[in-house]
Amino acid sequence: MTESNIAIELINVDKHFGAVHANDKVNLSVQTGTIHGIVGENGAGKSTLMSILYGFYQADSGQIKVFNKDFRAISSKQSIEAGIGMVHQHFMLVDNFTVLENVVLGSEGGALISESLANARIELTRLAKEYGLEVDLDVAIEDLSVGMQQRVEILKGLYKGAKVLILDEPTGVLTPQESDELFRIFEALKKQGVTIILITHKLREIMSITDNVSVMRAGKMVAHRETSKTNPEELAELMIGRKVLLNIKKSKAKSGSPALIAKNLEIMNEQGLKRVSDVSFEARSGEILGIAGVTGNGQGTLLKALAGILPISKGSIEIMGETITSNNTLNPEQLRNLGVAHVPEDRQRMGMISEFTASETALLGYHNDKTINQGVWLKRASVKANCESMMEAFDVRPSNPNLMSSNFSGGNQQKLILAREFERDPDLLIIGQPTRGVDIGAIEFIRKRIIEMRDAGKAIILISVELEEIMSLSDRIVVMCDGEITGTVNGSEADEATLGMMMANALESEDSLKGAKV
């Protein structure tokens, strides 16, 4: 490869956020006109690196070259001028603006907007044709589907003259069809000479679309490969840093009676959009039921409904002899009293209160418990003692109940939450993303504890977007796509290919997906 072929070159880029070393002397070079993947686990530093390139953050040290020219950005303005565009994971669009207004924002041209809008309309129509990115320019963003919004983001980048387009986890919120459409657009862009940097943690995407791939782990760039000369196993190993994926030894499940029976559930999310429809399953004691699916296919909404946070609009849930329907709801506290424990998906926002001490976080959901209350008095000594015993049982470090929850590492926060939920001897455990953003050591610990709970005869519902986690833990697996169950398999018989097909709903007819607006 010659010098002139390099679109982006990063040399020893370094970035700290407080005590966190987000990017540790990272090197990267991206060839012009290629699709370059960057893979890594959550928190590996991919997004930070790209945000530095896009001028959103400034590196502490290091050098950046764009098209062989030295490049320094103090804001995104310089990056845009240098021909870099970025499609963020959460779209940077103004919801009540039209597509046209959103695209023009920041590159209006003159002090009055009527002319800018007219010019942009012509240019956008041309771009849309050229790349197959048709979208109605006069519709407000809030009325567009997620897939269309993403298209607007891409158009925005192109309109601003992007020669390099960075996309951060672009398929995370897309249906499989929308993802395919996106990849088609990638090909069109590549043909026109646009360089694409794709950030993802999905290896399948890397293998199918990219030319080159770089792997990040814990802030460091650990490898560069030509995609055709690598395989998912090698990439996974590089991402995680061990030879084999974590495989927990477990005995055969001794399934007991059903602890939870869900029948024909339909659930709306907080915004009132239908996210789960016609879902039925049962969870038995002594067994782990895994619920797999791409992020945003209704699993999160389902989890919240099972835990009493969201009401169901149709169907029923039978738990411990109680039946929940749209008319008869149980709140999270009532469910806890029935013996249901819940480890929420979003640890930071839901599972704990960062500004509470560890002992107060260890109380969340159980503050009405009789053992720590005497009349009106909440006995803080008992609260502290409870927390100390939890910390010991789950090896939470530092084992200081008076420390602010935010001062623990992700793994230790998660262990504290698990301790809180496991230590009260529940009969049914609803667990969401148990190991998200957790270090390897803690992952192993947490998974072993989940298996132990199963072997103690508890019913466990496990929701995870990590297919590997679902496969290594579950006795039975239910796959969700677009709010519906698209397949059920036994844990021992599951393989990634079948599950992947089910997650993309490729085994069924595609009628149910038409008009899907996420």
Partner: protein
């Protein structure tokens, strides 16, 4: 008949006069809130500007110097608000409350120090005030029935700041909806991240919005002490800043609707004085306090979503913190 007509015209005329500070203050609030900064401090800025303007007009003998001084005083407070809520990402409401209280205290302390009387400035003579101007053609139209009265009482005979207030509103509309600055202003109040990633500085936009607000609010204050009245007196804003805030919400952050709300509230104020002691058949005497409270009641009902829904700019009251 002609009595009722004249009385109506005079009430409308009074409404126009009461309306002016509300217009300036609510337009000021419109810029701030459209940019995502809540401005509870309109009241304080009006008050401070009214005091400084009257003081400067007395000392320098010109209303125009008063105008300039009032604008500067209000803008300084606006920049303090910006410093706290934009640069230091503090609580915008707390900062606004601080400005109101600070202004209430400073006007008292400074008037005592400067003029030896707490909470009052010397009376302004006509050279130090903005006086009414007769619009051209008054003689010609004055004799025409109905139109003559309307022209003489309602349209002509106001001071320059009144006319400015009514010119400002379409200008605000034009800036907000037709210019690049307006586009960015509206964007930054809805989604500051979208603005930041488009390569535009969120902080600078918000500072600009607050500065414009400071200037507008300043003119409103100047009007109170050098045009509507002829001196500053203690607490002379009497809640105008909050009524303006109510009008801003009532007008759903849209210049023309806000103008209408301002006029409605000013009208209620004007008739409350006229209705004092008047017994309406079948209803009895309407308490003045009830009419005075109507703007607040209407705003609460609107906020509660019982008549339409007032949805503020999405990012309002949230300091912009750069993170993914």
């Amino acid at each position: 008949m002609s009595d009722i007509f004249l009385s109506t015209v005079l009430t409308l005329d009074a409404s126009v006069r009461v309306c002016v500070p509300l217009i300036f203050a609510s337009m000021a609030g419109l810029f701030a809130e459209r940019s995502g900064v809540v401005d509870i401090g309109l009241e304080g800025k009006l008050l401070m500007s009214a005091f400084i303007a009257a003081s400067a007009a007395v000392v320098f003998g010109s209303p125009w110097i008063g105008l300039l001084a009032g604008i500067i005083a209000s803008s300084v407070l606006a920049m303090v608000h910006g410093f706290a809520s934009i640069t230091y990402k503090g609580n915008q409401i707390v900062s606004g409350v601080a400005i109101n209280i600070l202004a209430a205290g400073l006007t008292m302390i400074l008037s005592l120090a400067w003029f030896k009387k707490a909470g009052i400035t010397p009376t302004l003579n006509n050279d130090q005030r903005f006086l009414s101007i007769d619009l051209p053609g008054l003689d010609l139209i004055d004799h025409v029935p109905i139109l003559g009265v309307i022209y003489r009482e309602l349209i002509s005979g106001h001071n320059i700041l009144v006319y400015l207030a009514f010119v400002i509103v379409p200008m605000v509309w034009w800036v907000v909806f037709k210019t690049r600055f307006g586009l960015r202003l509206r964007a930054v109040g809805e989604n500051p991240k979208a603005v930041d990633t488009a390569g535009i500085s969120v902080e600078s936009l918000r500072y600009k919005a607050l500065l414009i607000g400071g200037i507008l609010c300043g003119i409103g204050g100047v009007y109170l002490s050098t045009a509507y009245n002829a001196q500053f007196v203690k607490d002379m804003t009497a809640g105008s800043g909050f009524i303006a805030l109510a009008a801003l919400i009532f007008g759903k952050w849209h210049p023309y609707k806000v103008l209408a709300a301002c006029f409605l509230f000013a009208f209620l104020d004007a008739i409350s004085i006229r209705l004092q002691g008047i017994v309406i058949p079948g209803v009895g005497e309407i308490p003045v306090q009830l009419i005075e409270a109507t703007p607040y009641i209407l705003t609460i009902i609107l906020l509660a979503g019982f008549i339409g829904k007032a949805v503020p700019p999405k990012a309002s009251a949230q300091p912009y913190i750069k993170e993914l």
